[in-house]
């Protein structure tokens, strides 16, 4: 690489870092004060792009029209953030943190469909920035003038935010609330208004980041989740709550990605390495490395323990044998009476139930929330398909070996993950899922890339829908039973002890990290089993099985059912799968419908469906007494 191309790649990287920084800074700010991991932040960024596109169309492609549109789009997205805070989140600040997360997933779904409804499914290519569409010559290379402007905007916003946080009373309130919001309230500050203002600023930054991207990137419906993954990486690498850290991390990652693209394909020792395809991997590798060396990010500090007086999780109730046997008998009888459609739907539900129960195991009793559980589900599915198609193994062998492959990945990923806790852990799991996804997506020759793997059918004796129904019931049922059983073994007790008090658990001689690592491997293997069963039931596998959307689906299932009960995740998986199927058959906008249903449930039953019903039953019983 010559010096000139080095500089060019550096500038490229810095230009793309600016928007990333804006989004991440907003995310960080909101998280700091409200302790909500706002998954909808990427949606706000996406709205920024769409909004800027439409406004420019309306106001004209002049410099004035362009810049008015950018500012207006950012302000409108800020208002959208305020609406989200006031209409939804304000009502559930007292609910468990995971429920707030569920609400933000629902908002992602709703916003995606609003965008689909308003702007359609086609990518919208925005105009070049009027007046800045020329290129500037640097070292003999041409750089778009707009990119240079973007490079300048990053530090300007950083400075503005710094002044806002360090030199105004609002900034002092925000920083104080980040540490102890209850005390801020006791000093007479209205938290609700403070939170609303923080949401406005955070959303405005996301909207600005999006609007500024319109000359560089077409507006499309996939931006929400792809940018949120990037923003998570940046905030975590920089250190949650550190605006300066977010800037540093955005630059680091932006530049690293630009260099990957710039290097292109190289030949080393006879191997051909396509660096341009490794951008995602590089980004997440940086994150994994930083988190292992500096668990709280480059400029982060150990999070101040927010004073949240949440009640400890109640002890788990053991499902009774009669309950289990009645259900088993019913499910065994289904193919005798029901039609093909019901059988297929139930087969799906079995797979997702095991997937959800394995996720529940790790995030509930083991206390490690995973944002990337689809990694194991998808790896299991791909392992099954590839062992069959590329490995030439019989289907039965592939089905048994595939979970072990997923488990092997869990050994590696888990080793890193158990070193962290809380949000950092969750984001690292997301990072590993994204690495897996991008490898699967980009390793065309092995995995079929975006097309996936086809012809993954079970052996003839299992090919009938009824036969496969029983197979799915047997394997997934056994998996669920195993996980539940383990929870009531000494291993399960140790995990729960570690969740409730890591310090005390270690003090009585539990090697917590090793237990958590084992738990990771166990649930990874079983999620892999769910994926493998799923793969053979569908006959094909697409990268969607390993995507963020699949991970969030799992979280929705668990949280919908209720994380505090054992049967909740199963109920959540069933309801979610059935509802999605029902709604998707009736309307193109099934996401919005799902999102609204979830929001309704969140607002009405902050304990999850099963938990909420139990609470209702208890109240009823107490009244009867």
């Amino acid at each position: 690489m010559t010096f000139a191309s080095f500089i060019i790649q550096l500038l490229n990287g810095l230009a793309s870092a600016s928007s990333l920084f804006l989004v991440s800074a907003g995310l960080s700010l909101i998280f700091g004060v409200t302790r909500i991991v706002n998954f909808a932040h990427g949606s706000l960024y996406m709205l920024g792009l769409y909004g800027a596109y439409s406004l420019i169309e309306a106001l004209g492609r002049t410099p004035l029209g362009f810049w008015t549109s950018v500012v207006l789009a950012a302000l409108l997205v800020g208002v959208a953030g305020v609406l989200i805070e006031v209409l939804v989140l304000r009502r559930i600040y007292k609910a468990p943190e995971l429920f707030q997360l569920l609400a933000t997933f629902a908002i992602v779904l709703v916003i995606k469909d609003i965008a689909l409804f308003v702007w359609g499914a086609e990518d919208l290519v925005g105009p070049r920035a009027p007046g800045l569409s020329m290129a500037v010559e640097i070292l003999g290379r041409r750089i778009p003038a707009y990119d240079l402007l973007l490079i300048a905007i990053g530090p300007v916003v950083l400075l503005a935010l710094w002044l806002l946080l360090r030199r105004t009373r609002w900034g002092a309130l925000v920083r104080a609330a980040t540490q102890d919001r209850e005390m801020v309230g006791a000093l007479g500050v209205d938290q609700a208004r403070l939170f609303t203002s923080v949401f406005f600023v955070g959303a405005l930054l996301a909207g600005l980041g999006g609007a500024l991207q319109i000359p560089r990137e077409p507006a499309n419906l996939e931006l929400d989740l792809s940018i949120i993954a990037d923003a998570f990486v940046v905030t975590v690498v920089g250190g949650l709550g550190s605006i300066g850290g977010a800037f540093l991390a955005a630059v680091l990652i932006g530049v690293a990605k630009a260099f990957c693209i710039g290097i292109g394909t190289v030949h080393w020792f006879g191997f051909e390495i396509a660096f341009s395809k490794l951008t995602l991997v590089v980004e997440f590798l940086i994150m994994a490395l930083v988190l292992v060396v500096r668990p709280f990010g480059l400029l982060g500090r150990p999070p101040a323990t927010q004073r949240i007086t949440a009640d400890p999780a109640p002890p788990l109730a053991v499902p009774s044998w009669t309950f289990a046997l009645v259900w088993l008998a019913l499910l065994l009888a289904v193919p005798l009476v029901a039609d093909r459609y019901v059988t297929i739907l139930l087969t799906d539900i079995f797979c997702f139930a095991l997937f959800a129960v394995s996720l529940h195991f790790i995030m509930g009793p083991a206390g490690m929330v995973s944002f990337g559980h689809a990694a194991y589900f998808g790896l299991g599915a791909y392992a099954a398909g590839l062992l069959l198609k590329r490995g030439g193994l019989p289907m039965e062998a592939a089905l048994v070996l595939a979970p072990l492959v997923a488990g092997a990945f869990a050994v590696v990923y888990g080793w890193f993950c158990v070193r962290l806790s809380g949000v950092y852990l969750a984001m690292l799991t997301l990072a590993f899922a994204q690495i897996s996804w991008s490898i699967v997506f980009q390793w065309d020759s092995l995995t079929g890339g975006s097309n996936g793997v086809f012809g993954v059918w079970p052996s003839p004796w299992l090919a009938g829908k009824t036969a496969y129904y029983y197979l799915a019931l047997a394997f997934c049922g056994a998996g669920v039973a195993l996980l539940w059983r383990v929870l009531f073994s000494p291993f399960g007790y140790a995990l729960r002890a570690g969740r409730d008090s890591p310090l005390r658990a270690e003090a009585i001689g539990i090697d917590l990290r090793r237990f958590q690592w084992s738990a990771f491997v166990l649930v990874g293997t079983l999620a892999g089993l769910a994926g493998a069963v799923f793969a053979f039931s569908k006959g094909s596998i697409s990268p969607a099985t390993i995507s963020i959307a699949q991970s969030t689906d799992g979280l929705i299932m668990v949280l919908l059912g209720g994380v505090e009960t054992l049967t909740g995740p199963v109920a959540g998986a069933a309801i979610f799968t059935w509802l999605r199927d029902e709604v998707a058959r009736r309307t193109e906008f099934w996401r919005a419908v799902m999102g609204m249903v979830i929001l309704l449930i969140v607002l009405l039953f902050p304990q999850g469906l099963v938990g909420g019903l139990k609470a209702l039953a208890t109240r009823f019983r107490e009244r009867a007494l």
């Binding site: 920083r175 104080a176 540490q179 005390m183 801020v184 309230g185 006791a186 000093l187």
Partner: protein
């Protein structure tokens, strides 16, 4: 000024306050005495709305406050100084004071940074120091100063002498007498009877979430049996 009638409160399912009744009149310093775990802190938190009142009445001036959120109570002019001090460790002394600032209030002494630095001279020397790099005594002064920035009419002080060196305890007693001199009402929780005797006009004794005694400091000082029964360790 502050009237509490038959206040009940819970932590989760644990019934902590079993009908607390007490009163603080304008310009008076009232001590709430009792052993560890008797319900002193919970009483203050419950008055402040930080622990919800399950039943009972709390009036401040002529406003019923038992179902108001903490920030509304604070804005009526009721200040709260927590036992654990709860300084914002990332913020400087000046910024900590900024967070507590409210508009001046009729009928209450009004405070400025300079006036507070006169009351707590130690703080004046460390205006730009982050709260996390201060000693326990300095933090105790800062937390009181921070609450005074809200120009309260009445202050709830949770164990102001706890964990402080004797000389700082002496300063603290002096500061509380100054507050009284300014016309502020004070309700303070204490385990340290000696400290309370030095600053309070009246005292209540709380035990197992109920008030067992209410009277002047002179009455309490005269009754050795009472002290033996409820306060000796």
């Amino acid at each position: 000024m502050l009237n509490v009638k038959d206040l009940h409160a819970y932590y989760g399912r644990a019934h902590i306050l079993h009908g607390v009744t007490l009163e603080a009149r304008a310009g008076e310093v009232v001590a709430l005495l009792g052993r560890n775990g008797a319900g002193k802190s919970t009483t203050l938190k419950s008055i402040m709305g930080l622990v919800p009142a399950a039943s009972g009445e709390v009036s401040f001036g002529d406003v019923r406050i038992e179902s108001l959120p903490p920030h509304r109570i604070a804005r009526l002019g009721l200040g709260y100084v927590p036992e654990e001090r709860r300084i914002f460790t990332d913020l400087t002394v000046m910024e900590n004071l900024t967070v507590g600032r409210q508009a001046p209030r009729a009928g209450a002494p009004s405070w400025s940074e300079d006036k507070l630095f006169a009351l707590f001279p130690n703080l004046a020397r460390m205006r730009e120091r982050p709260g996390g790099r201060m000693s326990g005594g300095e933090q105790q002064m800062l937390t009181i100063a921070r609450t005074l920035m809200g120009n309260p009419r009445c202050v709830l002080l949770d164990e102001p002498s706890e964990g402080l060196a004797p000389i700082i305890v002496e300063q603290m007693a002096h500061s509380i007498r100054t507050l009284k001199g300014e016309g502020l009402s004070v309700v303070l929780c204490e385990q340290n009877l000696h400290f309370a005797l030095g600053v309070a006009d009246r005292a209540y004794i709380i035990e197992k979430g109920q008030i067992r005694f209410g009277g002047t400091m002179a009455e309490l000082a005269a009754d050795a049996g009472l002290r033996e029964q409820y306060l000796s360790v």
